[in-house]
């Protein structure tokens, strides 16, 4: 057990800090759920890629560093410490990218990865369907083979980034006789293809956060399939798994929020202390954010030593989503009657964050599903 960063790690941190300091946008970007903001964020991520910071765990030739997860944690710390913009290209970097690297053909990699890394292509995800939310294996959208093409019909929903992105990846039922997770294929679909209709879904916060995507005889080449036909579920799951759950929310993000919360509390301590649950909440926020950080370093350390991360990663999802809610609720309580004022500069970010935190226990596998997974796969309790 050794908490000293190596000289290389220290150098990397210094370099990242300096680069971010020199390059982060001087004015806050608009929300990426607007066209203008989306383009601003895309430009920022392209700049990150130029600097080699798009994803530090990616190979160098794709705008990464070929670095390990400790470097990823370090970079995230610097990124959040300086309040750099939210990331818009996570679908590509976290979800599709690793899948392509593992299952893509040489041609597919050459065709898609560099453009993804440079943000030339922006990717939307197409997992959920109206009747396949938590129950992902219930996917019904069809991809019927017709020679060298698939003809896609159906509907995806809750497709993040689909309002402004130009490509979508997702699972489609290529074997019409199949049920559950059999007979699905993993396809890449250009969103400007004929037969595609995109209907933005407006979120709680009034922004176009995701979309429904309708497919009406949409044709894509079989060259756009990753992995074998009918093996889509396995392809998706192989990298959908546990390590990705680790990367989805870095601890630095929550530590930064906990820091802002402590600062907010200090500014308003006299009024905050009228409600004893606030001080309790501030202490808890700090503790849980630090615990999440320590648990991340602990997990990463074991992974680097060849360990594996299993179903216990579901605890991660539960922990950060409840932490995020708890921190924002505490901030809302501190702000008291001002908390509703959307244009108040001290309020605005907390209010946005509070709304976003409501989604935490729901998306990326609802917390109910995560608790089932822990009970069944970690504790070995019988299925219901």
């Amino acid at each position: 057990m050794d908490l000293d960063f190596t000289p290389q790690q220290q150098a990397f941190r210094a370099e990242a800090r300096a680069w971010l300091h020199d390059h982060i946008p001087t004015a806050p970007l608009k929300s990426y759920d607007t066209r203008e903001g989306f383009e601003q964020h895309r430009a920022w991520e392209a700049k990150l890629a130029e600097g080699g910071y798009s994803s530090v765990t990616w190979p160098k030739e794709l705008g990464g560093r070929g670095a390990n997860l400790i470097d990823w944690l370090i970079f995230e710390e610097e990124y959040h410490a300086i309040d750099a913009p939210m990331r818009v290209n996570q679908n590509g970097i976290l979800l599709l990218g690793p899948t392509l690297m593992e299952f893509g053909t040489v041609e597919q990699k050459a065709r898609f990865l560099p453009r993804m890394a440079r943000c030339d292509d922006m990717w939307a995800q197409g997992w959920s369907e109206p009747n396949a939310g938590s129950d992902m294996a219930n996917i019904a959208s069809k991809a019927v083979r017709d020679g060298d093409e698939y003809v896609i019909n159906g509907q995806k929903i809750w497709s993040t980034r689909a309002v402004f992105a130009n490509w979508l990846f997702g699972l489609f039922r290529s074997d019409p006789q199949s049920v559950r997770h059999h007979g699905l294929s993993y396809l890449l679909v250009p969103l400007d293809a004929k037969g595609i209709t995109i209907r933005p879904i407006v979120a709680l916060n009034g922004k176009q956060a995701f979309a429904e995507v309708f497919f009406d005889d949409v044709r894509v080449s079989i060259a756009n399939r990753i992995g074998e036909e009918g093996q889509g579920w396995n392809v998706a799951m192989a990298t959908a798994g546990f390590e990705r759950g680790l990367l989805l929310r870095s601890p630095a993000r929550f530590q930064r929020t906990a820091q802002r919360l402590v600062e907010l509390y200090r500014r308003h301590q006299a009024s905050a202390d009228r409600d004893p649950s606030i001080r309790e909440g501030v202490l808890k926020a700090w503790m849980d954010a630090e615990a999440y950080n320590l648990a991340s370093y602990y997990t990463v350390g074991r992974l680097l030593k060849g360990g594996r991360i299993g179903a216990e990663a579901s605890t991660n999802k539960i922990f950060w989503s409840e932490l995020d809610l708890q921190m924002h609720e505490t901030a809302i309580r501190i702000l008291g009657p001002r908390a509703e004022l959307i244009d108040d500069p001290e309020v605005r970010d907390w209010l946005e964050g509070f709304l976003f935190a409501q989604a935490g226990p729901i998306y990326a596998g609802s917390n109910e599903i995560q608790r089932n997974i822990i009970a069944e796969r970690v504790l070995g309790l019988p299925k219901s």
Partner: protein
């Protein structure tokens, strides 16, 4: 001893409820959210037609002269249908204020008939709130102000022409302003000092009970929306409402609501009888109803899943109103501090039956 409502009170509640079910559907609420400055004058006219605007107005001024306990049930309905602030503020809180101030005789004559008829709107400025609701349409603003000398005063200001700046709220049905704090002259002054303070406290308590009632009504609405969703929405081949986790989320909401309502009713009675422990009972009602609504929002969106996170599913309007009213007319810190003071006093309302005396 009879801690229940009588037939007339329940019948009135039912008739207001039926009226709102027909006239205040979520579609209307969406319209209100989306129209910039306005309110729905047709709706106000219908309220007047139903007699809702006249409920608190004394009979001498053309009203029904109902008291706080009667109102408790009505405020739940206003919450259930998420009726914007102006109605309760005008026809319950401000009307009560006007009736409580002996010096306001001429104001009563001037305004109460219009309130009863649904043609007058009154807003209230109070130090506990950093905003004034619906001041832009107010004919009259009753303003509690701490003057330069540190003394509290109550002024009656003509609404037209008041300098104000609009401030946006996450609740799209809110129309909030901050009024310019220029010095007020004695001509608009109703009360000053201790008398103003007493009325300010009574007004705060009345408004707090109104908000608490709306919160428990909102909780019930969010529960009902969530039950409907859980009964219809299927995952893994069965309605999600058949999963124990979903059941238990919603059972928790039922429990919170069941044990918030009687507290609300007790607080309304304390208001009506101007009891010694009024402050503690009112703060308790606010905290209990706020907790019920907060729980209903959190469990409601969890049960709704991604749908609950959208603009187009109605839940969001009720959640936002619940979040906003949670801190209106005294945030949790304000009410916990009042309650804590009451419990640490030597004559604190402690022990069996304490709050029933």
């Amino acid at each position: 001893m009879d801690f229940t409502f009588n037939e007339e009170q329940l019948a009135l509640r039912d008739s207001v409820s039926r009226f709102l079910m027909n006239e205040a559907a979520p579609e209307l609420l969406r319209e209100i959210w989306e129209t910039g400055g306005g309110r729905a004058p047709e709706l106000r006219a219908k309220f007047a037609q139903q007699g809702v605007t006249a409920l608190s107005v004394p009979e001498a001024y053309g009203g029904l002269g109902l008291a706080d306990v009667d109102w408790a049930l009505i405020t739940e309905e206003l919450g259930y249908y998420a009726i914007p602030d102006s109605l309760a503020d005008t026809v319950y809180v401000a009307t009560g204020l006007l009736c409580a101030v002996p010096e306001a005789e001429s104001l009563r004559a001037q305004w109460l008939p219009g309130i009863a008829a649904g043609t007058a709107r009154v807003s209230i400025e109070h130090p506990v709130n950093p905003w004034v609701a619906d001041a832009h349409l107010a004919d009259l603003v009753l303003a509690f102000r701490t003057e330069a000398d540190g003394i509290l005063e109550l002024h009656a200001l003509a609404g037209a022409g008041l300098a104000r700046s609009a401030i946006g709220s996450i609740d799209g049905s809110r129309r909030l302003s901050v009024l310019a704090q220029q010095p007020l002259d004695a001509s608009t002054r109703l009360l000053r000092g201790e008398a103003a303070r007493t009325i300010a406290e009574a007004t705060l308590d009345r408004a707090t009970v109104a908000v608490a009632g709306q919160l428990v009504g909102l909780a019930q609405r969010m529960l009902d929306l969530s039950v409907d969703y859980a009964a219809q929405r299927k995952q893994f081949g069965r309605p999600i409402g058949s999963f124990q986790a979903v059941k238990h989320h919603l059972a928790d909401v039922v429990t919170r609501i069941e044990f918030a309502r009687p507290v609300l009713y007790r607080a309304a009675l304390a208001l009506q009888r101007n009891e010694r422990d009024r402050a503690a009972l009112v703060s308790h009602a606010k905290l209990a109803c706020a907790e019920a609504a907060w729980t209903a929002a959190r469990k409601g969106i969890q049960v709704h899943g991604a749908s609950g996170y959208t603009w187009e599913v109605d839940l969001q309007m009720f959640m936002k109103r619940a979040w906003v009213l949670d801190a209106a007319w005294g945030d949790r810190g304000f009410h916990k501090a009042r309650l804590g003071e009451a419990l640490l006093r030597d004559d604190a309302p402690l022990g069996p039956a304490a709050t029933l005396y």
